[in-house]
């Protein structure tokens, strides 16, 4: 399967995405410089984490204007798979490809730690290899991961089953303590209505191998790979 990873000035998880897909999952990976518009014919686009444009102005706010984002939007409009991780999720929200916004953590501090997330929707190309309610151990590392959306938006998310993963405790329970950044209804990741664009704050790129303390990110990559196989 062909993955393209976008690279903005300030992206810093681009290498991690490249490594887990090429060296661990054994897939083809192309790196796409933000000034380029040719996506190199991918099956799936990864918008990686980092600090695109130094988080100046607002996280993701400048990256959305990079030339490559026009191509990403066109690709998504045609049904192509797009996954944004961490800063990538923030960029996809800023670009209007996903609903909602990521605001400052409730602690007002950057948080880096392993968390648990519960899979709420398995009917997406990004979670189809998971069981409903499955608990994944995946790390977070962000200062602005507090998911917010207005009441109408939240209703639409629920009506359309777009809340894909939520922060939970080790047993899958939603508790205030297990919601690290104060996200609305513990939302850790959402998809668009068409279900081909997905963003999440936790890093499956940092949890794709047992040696890193968790192999659970593999379920996300495996879902994408089987989604593509299914499409064929």
């Amino acid at each position: 399967m062909r993955f393209s990873v976008t690279v903005f000035p300030g992206s810093n998880c681009d290498h991690d995405c490249e490594y887990v897909l090429r060296d661990v999952e054994k897939q083809n990976v192309e790196m796409i410089w933000h000034k380029d518009t040719d996506l190199k014919n991918p099956d799936c686009i990864i918008v990686p984490g980092g600090f695109s444009y130094g988080d100046y102005l607002r996280t993701g706010a400048i990256a959305r204007f990079s030339p490559v984002m026009k191509s990403v939007a066109d690709f998504a409009a045609k049904g192509g798979l797009v996954i944004g991780v961490c800063n990538g999720f923030q960029i996809l929200c800023e670009a209007g490809l996903l609903p909602g916004a990521l605001i400052r953590n409730k602690t007002l501090k950057f948080i880096c730690q392993s968390v648990y997330i519960r899979v709420e929707q398995t009917n997406t190309p990004f979670t189809n290899a998971c069981k409903p309610g499955q608990v994944l151990k995946i790390p977070i590392a962000h200062g602005e991961g507090n998911y917010f959306i207005d009441a109408d938006g939240l209703k639409k998310l629920k009506d359309n089953n777009q809340i894909v993963v939520r922060y939970c405790d080790v047993n899958g329970q939603l508790t205030p303590e297990s919601n690290p950044n104060g996200s609305l209804e513990s939302i850790a990741g959402v998809c668009n209505v068409s279900r081909n664009v997905f963003g999440l704050m936790p890093h499956p790129d940092r949890s794709g191998e047992a040696i890193l303390g968790s192999h659970d990110g593999h379920y996300i990559w495996q879902s994408i790979l089987s989604a593509k196989v299914g499409a064929r």
């Binding site: 000035p9 300030g10 810093n12 998880c13 290498h15 991690d16 490594y19 887990v20 060296d23 984490g49 980092g50 600090f51 444009y53 130094g54 988080d55 100046y56 501090k109 950057f110 948080i111 880096c112 730690q113 392993s114 790390p139 590392a141 200062g143 303590e177 890093h203 790129d205 940092r206 794709g208 191998e209 040696i211 890193l212 303390g213």
Partner: protein, 742 residues
């Protein structure tokens, strides 16, 4: 500064304001054969400051061992480099940013990280890990909370934005650092042998190119500032603190590595302390060449800057490089790709002189070598009377507390001992997906992708011991660093050091410096560990006197197979617990004596280097055969605290901890056996089935050991003396700092 000031008469007052002594000024006049102008005086002022010129410490530093089979680059460059096999090498160095952080904690700490990162990628290495060592006054002081918050925030923002994981560190709270916090930052980079590049200017006629951020008026005379004592006046020197832009540095790092790996450069050096001045004269000096630059071509942040200001500015995120012939355009193309400034500002010459022009008119003309060869002093030293007093301290005058469980609870919650989760949770410690042992264990471990190799790393300092006995204290700080590496299962291969002291011009302070360097050298020689570079930070004084003499060392360890790594936490109920080494009884110099009895005195623990080395070798042998479940050294808080820390299996207090039941052997005072800080001791756990093999190996190395108990239960029980629920200990340990900072 207008041109009229350029022509200013150099008076004694101006010389003094530049931190130069009358005889130093005379030496400058002798070198030039004339009086310097103000710009030239500025150049000598920064380059001959202690920070750049090491004039009081150089003679001692030369005694340290720096050679070894694996050393590819020793001291004298931006960072040391060591061979780790399979064509790979590791670059690492520690540096201080104490003075800027004391004045402006956020920017001071952030630019400290920025500076050490530049030192690493300037050598051609991609930074893969950061570490830091921080020292503040007591955390109950609101001023300390502000400094602590600002420093941690600054380090976090810079490292996180750069995408370099901050994997390990230490934080100490002690009155000695009340008005003078210590912020030492270390960085580690990976590179292939053929990617090494040095800060050298060679090739007559080659273009000298400036890249990165524009030059502003910030940080002028930062290096000179760092070489004086902090006073009320120095808070006026706020402009001597630089401003951080990690996004700019990220671009600069990517562009620099692209230039180096594209083989386009002859040499490159970052502009850190003393900015353009230092990079220019050092590159010329190392290359045995001269350099001629025109400051009018330097990209500037504001109008009307004088040559003096441009040369001495410490604006961050800038580099100076010399391109290979014919590569100049390619260099400019790569910088354009990264949207960075680049300007050809001069050429390499064969004159051996550093010539600075402004629009073609010469404004400074000095021998490049003379700037890099600061005067070397051998200051007077005298043994402080207080050292004798410490040795005469009568331990018997300290009562043994009746409730020793309570003492353990108090110690485990002491901010110096308690978990630093509040700190490392703010650092991205996982980015680059190499971190195999995260912050919290004795040493952090990262992998080298595409190989079985791994790197273990730790940073340790010891002011409290060195204040009691600088020679033993220095030996112990090296031993502790190497012991942490050994506990993780790796072999110590090299070290970097940062020496934080008071004014070397005070004979009593210089005595400490002299003895500490002797101790560091002897320990490194005994362990076969070369020192590949470092930094001195002197003049750490405050109105009440000098800080504790504080050597901080960064130790680098190597795994041939990273699968043999070991963490400090117990793994399974029923595993045997061993104490390697012998139980002590002295409470001298211990954290216990300070926290429980309010005394910082006594006999500093002593260390036998041969015994220590055998301990390290045995730990490595045990780890290589995968015979250990856990290994943790006894340091602050001694035997009892080390046991408690081994019980916390998770990274948080919510996760399950494992209890332990152990005996308390030995003789003498109970508090000394529990909390004393005798050296060369490690607590390990092992599967019962491996006991015979473990015993054999320990006997082979001649390491004293004792089976003291087993893992299991909900409490930590030590003999009849201590019994505390591990859940309670974990709660105290993990939340102590968080509660104080709330």
């Amino acid at each position: 500064m207008s041109s009229s000031i350029m022509n200013v008469e150099i008076t004694d007052k101006i010389v003094k304001e530049h931190g130069l002594k009358p005889d130093e000024y005379q030496r400058i006049c002798d070198i030039l054969g004339r009086k310097p102008n103000i710009t030239e005086l500025g150049l000598y002022s920064v380059m001959w400051s202690e920070h750049c010129g090491y004039k009081h410490s150089r003679a001692l530093l030369k005694t340290l061992p720096t050679k070894g089979d694996k050393v590819l680059q020793g001291p004298g460059e931006n960072a040391g480099i060591m061979d780790i096999g399979q064509g790979w090498a590791v670059a690492f160095k520690v540096e201080s940013h104490n003075h800027p952080s004391a004045i402006e904690p956020y920017q001071g700490a952030a630019t400290g990280v920025g500076g050490i990162l530049r030192d690493i990628f300037t050598m051609g290495a991609r930074p893969v890990a950061n570490l830091n060592s921080l020292r503040f006054g007591p955390l109950t002081d609101p001023k300390v909370k502000r400094l602590f918050t600002g420093v941690v925030h600054g380090i976090a923002d810079y490292g996180n934005c750069m995408g370099i994981p901050t994997v390990a560190g230490e934080v100490v709270f002690d009155e000695s650092y009340s008005e003078n916090c210590l912020v030492n930052a270390m960085s580690v980079g990976l590179l292939k042998h053929d990617q090494i590049i040095r800060g050298k200017a060679t090739g007559i006629g080659n273009a000298v190119i400036y890249i990165g951020a524009t030059t502003g008026r910030d940080g002028i005379h930062g290096a000179t500032f760092a070489s004086t004592e902090i006073t009320d006046e120095s808070t006026e020197k706020r402009s001597a603190v630089q401003v951080a832009d990690p996004f700019m540095e990220k671009l600069l790092m990517e562009a620099t590595l692209e230039l180096i790996h594209g083989n386009l450069l002859v040499g490159i050096q970052d502009m850190g302390a003393a900015g353009l001045t230092c990079s220019t004269c050092e590159m010329a000096s190392r290359g045995g060449a001269g350099i001629e630059i025109d400051v009018a071509k330097v990209p500037q942040r504001e109008k009307g800057m004088t040559p003096y200001e441009i040369l001495l500015s410490e604006s961050q995120e800038r580099m100076l490089l010399v391109a290979k012939p014919g590569c100049e355009q390619k260099v400019h193309d790569i910088l354009a790709k990264w949207d960075l400034h680049a300007a050809t500002i001069g050429v390499v010459t064969d004159t051996g002189r550093m010539i600075v022009k402004e629009n073609g008119k010469v404004v400074a003309d000095v021998p490049a070598d003379s700037l890099t060869e600061a005067p070397m002093y051998h200051p007077a030293k005298s043994e402080p009377a207080i050292l004798k007093k410490h040795k005469e301290f009568n331990e018997a005058s300290v009562p043994v507390p009746t409730n020793l469980s309570e003492v353990l609870e108090k110690l485990i919650a002491d901010p110096t001992i308690a978990s630093k989760r509040w700190v490392y949770r703010q650092y991205d410690h996982m980015v680059r997906s190499n971190t195999l042992i995260r912050p919290g264990s004795d040493a952090a471990v990262i992998r080298v992708k595409g190989t079985q190799l791994g790197l273990a790393m730790t940073i340790d300092g010891l002011g409290s011991y060195c204040a009691l006995d600088p020679y033993e204290g220095a030996k112990i700080v090296v031993a502790e660093g190497a012991r942490n590496i050994a506990c993780s299962g790796a072999e110590s291969i090299g070290m970097t050091d940062c020496l934080n002291f008071g004014s070397p011009e005070k004979p009593e302070v210089f005595y400490y410096l002299d003895r500490v360097i002797a101790g560091l050298g002897d320990a490194c020689r005994a362990f076969g560990i070369p020192i590949t570079g470092g930094n001195v930070s002197l003049y750490n004084e405050n109105p009440t006197g000098a800080i504790d003499p504080t050597p901080v060392i960064g130790m680098m360890g190597l795994f041939q197979n990273v699968e043999t790594r070991v963490t400090q936490w117990f793994k399974n109920e029923g595993d045997f617990i061993y104490l390697l080494g012998s139980i002590g009884q002295s409470i001298g110099g211990s954290r216990y004596l300070t926290v429980t009895h309010g005394k910082k005195t006594g006999l500093c623990p002593t260390l036998n280097l041969e015994v220590e080395l055998k301990l390290h070798q045995s730990l490595k042998a045990l780890a290589d055969q995968k015979l250990l479940q856990s290994a943790h050294d006894c340091s602050d808080g001694g035997f009892a605290v080390a046991l408690a820390e081994s019980c916390f299996t998770g990274m948080t207090h919510e996760e399950k901890s494992l209890g332990a039941v152990v005996t308390l052997s030995g003789e003498g005072r109970t508090d000394g056996r529990l909390f004393g800080e005798a050296q060369s001791r490690v607590i390990v756990s092992l599967k019962p089935a491996n006991a015979v093999k473990v015993d054999e190996i320990l006997k082979k190395f001649g390491v004293p050991f004792e089976k003291i108990g087993t893992v299991g239960g909900d409490s930590l029980s030590i003999g009849q003396e201590v019994k505390v629920a591990v859940g309670r200990l974990a709660d105290l340990f993990f939340t102590s700092i968080e509660k104080m900072m709330a």
